[in-house]
Amino acid sequence: MVDIRENESKTLIALRDAGGYSTIDQIVNVSGLVHSAVMRAALFLAPQNLLAVHERKSTKIVLNEEGKRYADEGLPERRIVKALQKTGGKADIEAVFKAASLSENIRVIALGWLSRKGWAVIEKGTKKLKLLKEPVEGSDEKLLALLKENGAAVVEDLSEELRDAVETLKGRKIIDVRVETERELELTATGWDLVKKGVEATAEISQLTPELLVTGKWKETRLRTYNIQAPVAHTWLGKKHPYLRFLDDLKMKLVALGFKEMTGPNVELSFFNCDGLFMPQDHPAREVHDMYFIKEPETGSLEQYQRFLEKVKKTHENGWKTGSKGWGYTFSTLEAARLMLRSQTTAASARTLISKDLEIPGKYFAIARCFRPDVIDKTHLTEFNQVEGIILGEDLTLVDLLGVLEKFAKDVAGADKVKYRPDYFPFTEPSVELVAYKKGCGWMEFGGSGIFRPELTLPLGIKVPVLAWGLGVDRLFMMKAGIDDIRFLFTQDLEWLRRMELI
């Protein structure tokens, strides 16, 4: 005996009442069940050989916006014909267009159809449009009229003539075509036997309710079994941005290594971004194609940095007391006050060096948004984050700098091997590039570093060596996340963020 539940019994009864053959929609109407419940019941009953499910594909057509306009105003070629008929079957083209009030964009179309249908031609000599014969209503126009009246039509139900017209209207892109599958149910002989005997269903529920629990009614009901393999809707949970999560993780590692976080403003004085870092004022990297400058006001105030400014100025000009020759040019304090968008996190390091809270020995780091007028592509962003830091201490040397880099490569990036290459920054000497090897990734450039030049530290009042480092974390993240396009860091793709696995 088949175990029939409530929805299945309702479906069978509705089908019996409909004479054994019905569309699903009709059953939904009669039984009061929702569409998906009837479908589920049918799919349960069919394998029991109680009913059969027939699928009938129907092609539904409706007029689109342009189609509706054509239906109201007539096809453009018909409108021309009507206008021509009023002027005795021959007229100047422009005048006809005007009389038919055809807009520019459909004029060519109209002429094309006139000639294709053989309704009218342009006379060779006079260049006038001439009516050829009495145009009868075509099948396309009949279909248009039908659609206008009924709103829609099923292609399979149309006469052969109109079915051909469907292709024409489709070609003119004035109808939308949708293939719909309609399902119909039919009682089988076994099904008839069962419904004749009468079907009864155990009351069954899918959702346990507080009421059932409180009243104890749950004892008299049966909880429906579920198909636990059935797919469920996605849950999109709240998540941190994967790149920011990666930076959070990096921060915690740096904190664990004894680094304090330092900060600085996004709109920066050139003094901190450049001059204080011993970048000469005519350095190519200080031109408009390498830095963003603020339109108004152009300059900020250096008032509270006067005592540093004077020394920095002299150091640029002639080396001051640093033992350097300096750059040998006339330093402009106005240029040093120029406002710009921070182009390198080193600006934050310069601010830290003159801070009254500076600790020696000390370790500091910053993760800061930097801005450069690069063209945005697979490997460049115009806004990006830099991770940089400094270490100050009495006896720090190049040996220590290499030790710091090795620690970062192994502890932070999980590299297996490291190599050091001579590098160049205007503000460090010696300068070292860190190249790290990681299994599966090969060698990659991982960071730049160096010891701040005396021309930088002495004018800012720092008498101990300062090791400075920057890490190429973007590439590390991209490798971890399996992406090769840096633009993903600022992705506008919600789907990608939702699906991104936690790394």
Partner: protein, 565 residues
């Protein structure tokens, strides 16, 4: 960083050895001069040279010169000397004083100038003009066929319409004025001279124009071909050291091609300025304290070791004692400003990879900034409320901030030199960034709930940098049932968890629906606003679902929390 194009065979012949074709191995060698080769398959390989001050290695000749030392083919100071006077005298016009006052010349005889060599010299000239010469503003270089020129020469000024000559690559005579209009170099570099009433010209004793510095040479005299036997080099500019350093480097590159160097005499009319004989190949001498070397590198070297390392880097060692080495710096090493530059060369010659690294044992306590700690707390709560964190650019455009948000334009921090129309200013509020994000995701399943903690920047006269960074939280929920109530419920949860009691004050804002918008107050401080997005704004962004949002100034919220007992 400068990039030079080099023909590998040419470099090899100057170097006297074959170079590895393997990128990794070649770069190992190039790393001595901070170079990295790219594009190895092409006839001309590209070498990026990171040091933007070491102009001597931007020529293939200088590159070979430096590498020969590191590779052990030669050591110590390389001996370049002047064979004698070329007989060239240059008289400088006093009127150039405020225009382009300095000039330096040399003559190189007998250099082997193959087509390839000429190409390389042109590359080098370009590189020097662009980088070291700051796009010819500071210095520019001219090369001439010395045998076509009749000294003495005059470096003087002329009225733009009065002097004419046939510029390089042209066949007809143009006046200086016409060159600025018609010649590609005139169009490119004209701005350097245009502001002056009189422009510089370089002329020989028969009144033939050699060039119009810094714009263009004469096609007749200023063209070097494989037939040219003797070359006159001229550098003009605004900084005398840079002018002389540039001349040295071009002269030596030609000398490395087998040329002999002859000097020229420059007569300056400026008060207090002596006549000069150029080029000056003497180079400077400095004293290197061995203690200092040890303090920087962290390793002890004997005077003998230091001498060997210095000589590998082509420095001359005049005298070495236990505590000090007297070092002769090659004249072409224009980048050496301070003994620290020499110390770095010692370390490079020793090879960084031979140094045993050490993690410095400094006792320091790490920590996040207060801002970061609070930011992380807020982010954690927003994630708990089911919002997806997003990251957007701070640079944007008024169209995004105001037009599409249905509000009047406000004064924002604008960029003087924007690159893109969509990035002309800094945002002064955050919700527009979120709306822009949502507008790009209309095909993605709803409901969508997103948030960002990011900086907004506003004008602030009181600050040294004339702006304030406002750390801001904003969130938007968008779906068919999104409403003010939903946003308020999230706001409520956030503030409850932060232990802050707040109130909402009815207000109006054209981005939000009238009567469904309010300002968020804590005591009497305004922290932000909340509301249901106006349908016009949704339509502007092409969004087809209702949305609600709030935005909070986290700087102020943090202050409120700190003020709590």
């Amino acid at each position: 960083m400068p990039t030079v194009e080099v023909e590998l065979e040419d470099l090899e012949s100057l170097l006297g050895m074959e170079l590895p074709r393997d990128e990794e191995k070649l770069n190992e060698i190039l790393s001595y001069v901070k170079g990295e080769a790219k594009n190895l398959e092409a006839q001309e390989i590209r070498i990026e040279l990171k040091d933007s001050n070491r102009a001597d290695v931007w020529s293939v000749e200088g590159l070979a010169r430096a590498l020969r030392g590191y590779l052990g083919f030669e050591k110590g100071l390389k001996d370049y000397h002047i064979q004698g006077s070329s007989g060239v005298e240059v008289n400088v016009d006093l009127k150039l004083k405020n225009i382009r006052p300095y000039i330096a010349c040399s003559v190189i005889k007998g250099a082997k100038l193959t087509e390839a060599a000429i190409r390389q010299i042109m590359h080098f000239q370009d590189k020097m003009d662009q980088t070291y010469g700051r796009n010819r503003r500071k210095t520019s270089i001219g090369l001439y066929d010395f045998d076509l020129i009749n000294p003495p020469l005059r470096y003087e000024v002329a009225k733009p319409s009065e002097v004419s000559f046939v510029p390089l690559e042209f066949s007809e005579k143009l006046t200086l004025e016409e060159i600025l209009e018609k010649h590609p170099k005139g169009i490119e570099y004209g701005r350097i001279v245009r502001k002056f009433p009189m422009w510089p010209v370089f002329i020989d004793s028969e009144n033939k124009v050699l060039s119009f510095p810094p714009v263009i040479n004469s096609n007749d005299l200023g063209r070097i071909t494989p037939k040219t036997e003797n070359v006159l080099v001229e550098v003009t500019g605004t900084a005398i050291d840079t002018v002389q350093n540039t001349l040295i480097n071009v002269t030596l590159a030609l000398a490395d091609r087998g040329g002999r160097i002859y000097s020229a005499k420059i007569h300056y009319p400026y008060k207090g300025m002596a006549d000069a004989t150029t080029p000056n190949l003497k180079g400077e001498t400095l004293k290197l304290d061995l203690n200092y070397v040890q303090k920087v590198i962290g390793m002890q070297f004997s005077p003998k070791e230091i001498r060997e390392l210095l000589e590998k880097a082509h420095y001359g060692v005049v005298k070495a004692t236990k505590s000090e080495v007297t070092v002769k710096v090659p004249c072409y090493r224009v980048d050496v400003l301070h003994p620290i530059d020499v110390v770095e060369d010692v370390a490079i010659a020793y090879n960084y990879n031979r140094i045993q690294p050490r993690w410095p044992q400094l006792l320091t306590i790490g920590g996040l900034s207060q801002e970061a700690e609070f930011r992380d707390l807020v982010r954690e709560l927003m994630v708990g409320l089911g919002f997806q964190e997003i990251l957007t650019y701070m640079m944007t455009a008024p169209e995004v901030l105001f037009t599409k948000m249905n509000v009047d334009a406000q004064r924002v921090v604008e960029i003087a030199n924007p690159r893109l129309l969509s990035m002309t200013c800094l945002r002064n509020w955050l919700i527009p960034s979120l709306m822009e994000f949502l507008s790009r995701n209309t095909h993605v399943e709803y409901p969508q709930k997103v948030f960002e903690v990011g900086y907004c920047v506003v004008h602030d006269k009181e600050k040294e940098n004339k702006t304030s960074d406002i750390e801001t939280l904003a969130c938007v929920t968008i779906h068919s049932d999104a409403s003010f109530t939903e946003a308020k419920s999230a706001l409520d949860a956030l503030f409850t968890n932060l232990g802050v009691s707040y109130s909402l004050e009815e207000s109006s804002h054209k981005s939000f629906i009238e009567g469904r918008m309010g300002r968020i107050l804590v005591e009497n401080t305004e922290l932000g606003f909340i509301g249901e997005i106006h349908p016009q704004v949704l339509q502007n962004w092409g969004l087809e679902n209702p949305a609600a949002a709030f935005e909070i100034n986290l700087n102020r919220l943090r202050q409120c929390l700190q003020a709590k007992p």
